[in-house]
């Protein structure tokens, strides 16, 4: 436990490259929108640079803060604060509405997204709690259910926000951590059935998914409405070709792709940097995942292993989910791309989570590059 090593350099470099690319893309993608609405092409990039700076600080801090010191008190406080914030965001006057969803709390002029904090809280809470267990997760009701209960509370609050993507990501990372922690396969199988039934019920009996499914299957059925974002995204990606139009040369960012610096930043990247660019970015994420899992595998203890698994799962699920959405591989839902999308809360927390991962790597036993 005392044999501290340097952190995983490859992971560190990967994060830095992703962040730098992200900043370049935020600048390029946001310039027209920033010019149009703020009369200043630097509006978004200036803010993003501040967040990146704070994120770097958070990452370095986390990387040097022994994760073992994140104890019972910390994880419980984080969890409870997250839940309270998730409740507060639902209260008009505190939470702020955007396109029919309550996702933001404005603190000192900055928009804060409680769901991002909840993701981190869940990872740490699960990891801590699961690593402190004396016996394996043998019984569904006795062992697994309390975790599902905590997840259930968060998921219920996220659903009240109508924040579908956060819900999916939350469930995914929870499942992955439970899977890494040794939950029984048959218990997952037992969960699949009711979840599938629920999804089918939602699709069949409510209208919530109908337009999303329709625009997923055929975005051109409503090109000005539900299919609009998807079509604009595909136009951007399709215009990229092998090498892209060149950095800064996207046409689709000129207010066609809505908020091109946020959820749809990847299509702009695809348009400007082409297939080469998107493969590079996906490979960078793959390196991140590979290093993350390597850190988990070689972690000195279950706590480190689960934290590493959780953080890796979060970055992996969210980034791949984002790419799947913008390529219309899955029904559309708003999900941001880690390290790329403009937005303070998410970037700082992702950086901090990467920092924790780096910290775990300092105690992992494997050959460094």
């Amino acid at each position: 436990m005392k044999n501290k090593k340097p952190f995983d350099f490859l992971l560190f470099i990967t994060v830095l490259i992703l962040l730098s690319l992200g900043l370049i893309m935020v600048f390029s993608a946001s310039a027209p929108t920033a010019e149009k609405y703020y009369g200043n092409i630097y509006h978004y990039i200036n803010r993003q640079l501040v967040f990146a700076g704070l994120g770097m600080a958070a990452m370095l801090l986390a990387a040097n803060y022994d994760y073992h010191k994140i104890g019972k008190k910390t994880v419980w406080i984080l969890l409870l604060v997250s839940i309270v914030l998730l409740i507060l965001v639902l209260i008009p006057g505190i939470g702020s509405e955007s396109k029919g969803s309550w996702r933001w709390i404005i603190i000192a002029g900055f928009r804060f997204q409680p769901s991002e904090l909840a993701k981190m809280a869940l990872i740490l809470f699960y990891s801590y709690s699961l690593s402190k267990r004396k016996k394996p997760l043998d019984s569904f009701f006795g062992d697994l259910l309390p975790y599902l209960f905590v997840l259930g509370i968060i998921v219920a609050l996220l659903l009240l926000e109508t924040h579908l993507s956060a819900t999916i990501i939350m469930i995914s990372i929870a499942m992955i951590i439970l899977f890494a922690a040794g939950a029984k396969i048959r218990h997952f199988a037992a969960l699949v059935l009711p979840v599938t039934a629920l999804v089918i019920a939602v699709i069949t009996f409510t209208d919530y998914m109908t337009p999303r499914l329709r625009s997923w299957i055929d975005p051109w059925s409503d090109p000005r409405g539900d299919g609009y974002q998807t079509i604009q995204s595909l136009y951007a990606i399709g215009s990229g070709g092998l090498f892209g139009r060149g950095l800064g040369q996207s046409m689709q960012k000129f207010l066609y792709v809505p908020e091109p610096q946020n959820d749809y930043i990847f299509p702009i990247l695809a348009e400007e940097l082409g297939f080469v660019g998107v493969v590079a970015v996906l490979l960078l994420f793959m390196i991140f995942i590979w290093r993350g899992i390597k850190i988990a595998v070689h972690a000195p203890d279950t706590y480190g292993c689960l934290i590493a698994s959780g953080v890796t799962a979060l970055i992996a699920v969210q980034s791949l989910f984002n790419v799947a959405v913008v390529t219309n591989s899955v029904p559309p839902t708003g999900v941001s791309l880690p390290f790329f999308s403009a937005g303070g809360t998410a970037l700082i927390l992702f950086m901090a989570e990467a920092g924790i991962l780096l910290n775990v790597s300092r105690y992992s036993r494997y050959e460094r590059i």
């Binding site: 027209p32 149009k36 009369g39 690593s131 992955i176 899977f179 890494a180 922690a181 040794g182 595909l234 136009y235 951007a236 990606i237 399709g238 215009s239 990229g240 070709g241 092998l242 046409m251 689709q252 000129f254 207010l255 066609y256 695809a270 082409g274 297939f275 998107v278 493969v279 996906l282 490979l283 994420f285 793959m286 995942i289 590979w290 899992i293 988990a296 595998v297 070689h298 972690a299 000195p300 203890d301 279950t302 706590y303 292993c305 698994s309 890796t312 799962a313 992996a316 791949l320 790419v323 799947a324 390529t327 591989s329 036993r365």
Partner: protein, 734 residues
């Protein structure tokens, strides 16, 4: 706290592999989008990105057959501002905006400043700015990212003749597309042109993207449409109809059609009441509708549009059907002669005739004192119904209706206008239907159908398709497409046509003919009167369908007056003279030579004294001149109440009968003179025509061809003067 065990490590490796698989799948998906769907998506994206700035084309002009403009487009922009937005400009202050705009628009700077700072959402700065200024302002706006200044394209359609062509042209809607079934609508696809594009890459909100990739595809202006209509003839017909409507208190509308029987060209088509194409939604002051109050008129309201559609917007020449009445007897005549069941000299009578399926016998219109035994020619002159019933009966239902059909009465003419009504016949045609149809009753047709049938009647037997559109030209005037005259079918023989013309000329020319009021000396007008009953009691339709000159018809003229409430409702009394007047005006405009018969010439060489009509009103003067056997021509903008100030020839001059006296309603500052034409070698008839065209009168001596003329050719002669012309017989002299 233990390090991960083997099972746990295996699970982590499964995770890694799963994520790797997903990454691989996403890369494949991206490759598919970028390489397989790429070109198509790129194309669509390009179209979207370049659809922002459209250059609107200029709508084509509509011309009459002589190139006079009937409908033109005035392209102009209107520049307006949104004062709130102007104040929010980042690069320029409000003062700078005012300076720049005042400079570019040549306006007072303070006026502009006042407008762009006005407390309002919008203010118009200047209307009808030219293209060049507009381009300058647009450039200035994009260079300085000026907000709050808007330029709206305003392609206004303008109709120089106002009411004259209302039903033929129709008007255009707000988005400039043609309406009302007129030429504007029917030819819309040619007139409208193709919009051009500025291929700069633009954003979703239409602002220009800083880029040098600007390419321009010019708009293709609409094609011009050339009509067969002659504006002058249209004007002559319109004027005559206005007068007829007023004189005869016509309540139900009036129609005038002039066609060229040889080509089917519509030279004029007028329906009354009409409306001004430049203000189609305005209160129709020219009609009387009960309970219609100008102060309660709301333009474009459902109610007002309803009233307009029912009245002034109606192109009655093609939308109204009516019983043609006696004008149809010409058709029965033609069928009978073509089939040989009757000749002009066949002896017939107009004694009451019984028809199967009808209780009462059919009488002549002059039921009290029938014409009795007469030739068929006389029966046509007298318009005796029983004589036509006999002809129809000799033909039989099948043959009779085969002619009705062949003359085009049972189908629409297919003119290039929308809204043509369908003719109405009894569903099952019986003996009685045929009997009354022989004199034009119990079926309804449109006025255009009758005029069209008359083309076949008089042109040698070929039914022409009415032609309204002559050709399409481009902006340089090159003919792009020509629409040739179309013969629908040959209905009767050349010989029958000639015989019918001869008979119908008699209807007008014979002093006892029912159409005598259409007589014009020298122009050989033929035709047939018609007085039709309608389904409403005491509502008649007076009509006359004529043609001239009878030996070589150049025009067919149909006049229909619906519900005349004046002294008479008889076609021969009120419609025939209008046709005569129109025929005379149109043929003299078309420079068709008059052909004087010996009788005409004899009448014309009788000399008369010119009465003194000075200080009389025009109406009194005209009456006095007519009584003296003279014609007149009014100089100046006079109406019937104006006073005649001067006249030429002077009072008490001795002139030949039918000479023209010029009546001046103003004091002529200098005497109007004309150039004396060269008459040498001309016949009497030619000499009269030549002098009349020049505005001179003739005094004849001798006979033969012109031997001497009073003034040498080329000399200036006072207009209206009497020129002494000596004739000698130069050949056949021993």
């Amino acid at each position: 706290m233990a390090a991960p065990g083997l099972a746990q490590k295996r699970r982590l490796m499964i995770m890694l592999c799963t994520f790797a698989l997903i990454v691989a799948a996403l890369i494949a998906r991206l490759a598919y989008i970028q390489f397989v769907q790429g070109s198509e998506l790129q194309k669509k994206a390009f179209v979207q990105q370049n659809s922002g700035r459209i250059i609107s084309p200029i709508r084509g002009t509509i011309y009459d057959r002589n190139g006079k403009k009937l409908a033109i487009s005035v392209q102009a922009g209107t520049i307006s501002c949104n004062p709130n937005e102007v104040a929010n400009n980042k690069k320029l202050t409000v003062d700078e905006v005012a300076d720049a705009l005042a400079d570019m628009l040549s306006l007072e700077r303070d006026d502009v400043y006042r407008l762009i700072t006005k407390k309002a959402n919008s203010a118009i700065i200047k209307r009808k700015i030219d293209k060049e200024t507009e381009t300058r302002i647009r450039t200035w706006m994009s260079e300085n990212s000026v907000k709050g200044i808007n330029i709206d394209e305003d392609a206004k359609r303008y109709y120089p003749n106002g009411n004259l062509m209302s039903h033929l042209l129709g008007f255009t809607g707000d988005d400039n597309q043609g309406l009302m079934g007129g030429v504007e609508e029917v030819m819309d696809k040619y007139l409208k042109g193709t919009p051009g594009k500025i291929l700069s890459e633009v954003d979703a909100r239409g602002g220009a993207v800083p880029s040098d990739s600007e390419k321009r595809i010019d708009a293709q202006d609409g094609l011009n449409v050339v009509l067969t209509i002659d504006e002058t003839i249209q004007y002559l017909v319109s004027k005559s109809l206005d007068k007829a409507v007023e004189d005869n208190k016509v309540k139900g509308g009036a129609i005038g059609i002039v066609m060229d029987p040889n080509t089917g060209d519509i030279l004029s088509m007028v329906s009354k009441p009409d409306y001004d194409l430049n203000t189609p939604f305005a209160f129709p002051a020219n009609i009387q509708v009960e309970g219609l109050d100008p102060s309660e008129w709301v333009e474009r309201s459902n109610e007002s549009v309803n009233i307009l559609s029912r009245t002034v917007w109606r192109n009655r020449a093609i939308t109204d059907t009516y019983e043609p009445g006696s004008t149809f007897k010409s058709i029965t005549t033609a069928a009978g002669i073509e089939e040989g069941v009757v000749t002009p000299d066949t002896i017939t009578d107009d004694l009451p005739i019984k028809v199967t399926g009808w209780p009462k016998p059919i009488n002549c219109w002059r039921v009290g004192r029938p014409h009795g035994t007469e030739t068929f020619r006389e029966a046509v002159y007298n318009s005796c119904n029983p004589a036509f019933v006999k002809v129809a009966q000799s033909l039989g239902i099948e043959r009779f209706y085969s002619y009705v059909k062949a003359f085009g009465f049972m189908e629409r003419t297919g003119i290039e206008l929308k809204g043509e009504a369908k003719p109405q016949f009894q569903p099952k045609l019986k003996e009685i239907d045929m009997a009354v149809a022989s004199f034009g009753q119990r079926f309804t047709i449109t006025p255009l159908q009758l005029a069209t049938a008359y083309t076949a009647l008089v042109n040698g037997g070929r039914l022409m398709k009415p032609r309204l559109i002559k050709e399409l030209t481009d902006s340089e005037g090159n003919v792009v497409e020509k629409f040739e005259p179309q013969v629908v079918r040959t209905v009767i023989s050349e010989q029958t046509s000639k015989t019918v013309r001869d008979i119908l000329e008699g209807v007008v020319g014979d002093s006892k003919g029912t159409g005598n009021n259409a007589f014009v000396r020298g122009y050989r007008v033929g035709g047939k009167t018609g007085t039709s009953e309608t389904t409403k009691e005491d509502v008649y339709i007076a009509s006359f369908c004529g043609f001239a000159p009878a030996n070589d018809p150049q025009i067919v003229v149909l006049i229909v007056l619906m519900d005349p409430r004046g002294d008479s409702h008889m076609g021969g009394v009120i419609a025939a003279p209008i046709v005569g007047k129109i025929a005379e005006d149109v043929l003299s405009y078309m420079q068709v030579e008059r052909q004087y018969t010996q009788e005409d010439l004899k009448a014309m060489t009788e000399e008369v004294y010119v009465p003194d009509v000075r200080k009389k009103t025009v109406a009194e003067a005209v009456k006095a001149l007519k009584a003296a056997g003279l014609k007149y021509s009014i100089e100046g903008e006079g109406n019937n109440e104006s006073t005649v100030v001067e006249q030429t020839p002077k009072p008490d001059s001795i002139v030949p009968e039918d000479s023209v006296v010029l009546l001046y309603t103003y004091k002529p500052e200098s005497e109007q003179t004309v150039e004396m034409p060269d008459l040498s070698g001309k016949t009497l008839s030619e000499a009269i025509n030549t002098l009349n065209r020049a505005g001179l009168n003739i005094k004849i001596s001798g006979h033969g061809v012109v031997y001497k003329q009073q003034y040498v050719a080329g000399q200036d002669v006072r207009k209206g003067s009497v020129v002494l012309v000596e004739f000698r017989n130069l050949d056949n002299v021993e």
